[in-house]
């Protein structure tokens, strides 16, 4: 079993947990799924770090672990406790159809990336369609769910997909860019949390549908 197969195996798990995000209808379960998904992303980045020997990638993996597996889920758990809403009751598209659409999205991204020719040395070719699929699933979560927390989770899933694509195809972006992205995501999640709390206090709900009633 070569190292690129190990990377493909681990990133397949990232995709599985992205699909599980669609399956869940409890907010706690969604956040836990996100944490596990980020954990597998960390594993994938560390494997690439071992393969390529770049010291930057070890730090990236460590930061991924600290921010995405520990800090962001911790923040979101606290947020769920604070606003007291535990369930995603009715998404725009029901879960059954969402799952089928997700399957189509994954197959579409595999079909699409078949035609793409990546020049230069690629660590693991099959990771590219997987990360495209994760990005598409993240966007799909953002548009198909009503609750603001699941929409944040969709955004974070999308970000994981970009991270996976970046590390597996190019052996990581320049270090300063990655630091920037990490703090962007972290501060983004923090601010979105505060905003959700504000939505909760003014509407007694975190249904973003209700924002459309903000008219003069």
């Amino acid at each position: 079993m070569s190292i690129s197969e190990v990377i493909e195996l681990v990133s397949a798990f990232v995709l599985i947990f992205a699909i599980m995000q669609i399956f869940s209808d409890r907010l706690y379960f969604s956040v836990k799924t996100y944490a596990v998904q980020s954990f597998f992303l960390t594993l994938s980045i560390s494997t690439i770090a071992v393969y390529s020997g770049f010291a930057d990638l070890y730090i990236t993996a460590l930061l991924t672990f600290i921010i995405k597996v520990v800090l962001i889920p911790f923040l979101l758990f606290k947020l769920i406790d604070k606003i007291g809403i535990k369930r995603e009751i009715e998404p725009f598209i029901n879960i059954n159809y969402s799952l089928l659409i997700t399957g189509v999205l994954v197959l579409f991204s595999f079909f699409l990336t078949q035609k793409v020719h990546i020049s230069g040395e690629v660590v693991a070719r099959e990771v590219f369609p997987i990360s495209i699929a994760i990005i598409l699933i993240g966007i799909f979560i953002m548009i198909s769910r009503k609750k603001a927390i699941t929409q944040i989770l969709g955004f974070l899933t999308l970000e994981n997909g970009i991270m996976l694509a970046g590390t597996s195809i190019t052996k990581g972006m320049p270090f300063i860019v990655e630091i920037g992205i990490f703090f962007d995501v972290f501060v983004g999640a923090l601010m979105a949390g505060i905003m959700i709390y504000q939505i909760r206090t003014s509407f007694q709900d975190i249904d973003t549908d209700k924002l459309s009633s903000l008219k003069e």
Binding site: A12, I16, M20, F23, N96, L100, G103, L107, F110, Q114
Partner: protein, 311 residues
């Protein structure tokens, strides 16, 4: 003659360890919950105790109730004799391929459902209808997983599929295999009535599925149903462990390789039983109307694994 002996040994090992697997899963769950627990050999004692007791049948029961336990057991035993456990020479592999494997198991499920309705109790009918719903939803996903491996190896004969996978070493299609494995885990949980779909530990709950069908069974009938369900779980674990950890299935029939094969098989199957225990203690039972979502999840994973292999 040698092949026949090996086929018989595999068959008997599979049947003999199935109560042990059930006891082992129970033991792991108890350990993780910090409970005191029945011995790991409890399954054998239960079977022994039940076999001594007399059968009480409801006065509404027809001949179906008399034959159903035997048909369920026999269909499970036939599938057990299709499946290569630690050697590719099986007892009946020349008669049926992996599609027959699925549908002979389904015959057992069908008669179990008939038994549930035949007794004239309300619970049995409920259980049967739920079981048939779940079985109908799990079947396409299971077929997808099986077609994935049939395509990878170019045959539907179980022995050949296993032999080819073992020849190739650890899977050469990692993404496809991971998706198939997760799909198979979900299907195995649903088909065997394990935790997120059905609770195997209770006998009196409105939402039970498998236990509701055999609620009226007693004595020898109950023993046959119990041992069939344990063998079915062992069958799924053997299938998964031999496909996804392809070490230790030997083509040779020397004494040493057979012993090594048995040891490897036992290690693998107990390792594969642990995730089931972990899922059971960490998840609550799903609402029945959420089960189709879970099955769709399994189906989508299986579909992806099939198509990814093609692309």
């Amino acid at each position: 003659m040698e092949n026949l002996t090996i086929g018989l040994i595999q068959f008997f090992i599979l049947v003999a360890i199935s109560p042990l697997i059930k006891g082992f899963i129970h033991k792991v769950k108890c350990y993780l919950r910090g409970q005191k627990c029945a011995s790991i050999w409890q399954g054998y004692r239960d079977i022994y105790k039940l076999l001594k007791k007399e059968i009480v049948l409801s006065s509404d029961a027809s001949w179906i109730s008399k034959v159903a336990p035997y048909i369920v057991l026999i269909s499970t035993l036939i599938t057990a004799s299709f499946l290569p456990v630690f050697n590719s020479h099986t007892l009946l592999s020349f008669t049926g391929d992996i599609i027959a494997f699925v549908y002979v198991l389904a015959l057992g499920t069908f008669f179990l459902a008939l038994y549930g309705m035949d007794q004239g109790s309300a619970f049995g009918g409920l259980g049967s209808s739920r079981e048939m719903t779940i079985a109908a939803l799990a079947e396409p996903a299971l077929m997808m997983v099986i077609f994935t491996f049939a395509l990878q190896t170019g045959t539907t004969n179980i022995s050949e599929i296993f032999a080819k996978i073992h020849q190739a070493g650890f899977s050469q299609f990692p993404i496809s295999s991971v998706f198939a494995l997760m799909a198979l885990l979900i299907i195995a949980l649903a088909e065997n009535g394990r935790m997120p779909v059905d609770n195997p530990e209770t006998h009196l709950e409105l939402t039970m599925v498998h236990e509701a069908m055999i609620l009226e069974a007693s004595g020898r009938d109950l023993a046959l149903f119990e041992i069939s369900s344990w063998i079915k779980l062992t069958l799924f674990l053997t299938l998964a462990s031999n496909i996804f950890v392809p070490f230790g299935l030997y083509n040779e029939t020397t004494f040493v390789s057979v012993i090594l094969g048995i040891v490897f098989f036992l290690i693998k199957i107990f390792l594969f039983a642990i995730p089931i225990a972990l899922v059971e203690i960490s998840m609550a039972k799903l609402r029945f109307f959420r089960v189709p979502d879970l099955m769709t999840f399994g189906f989508v994973l299986a579909l992806i694994s099939l198509v990814v292999y093609y692309l």
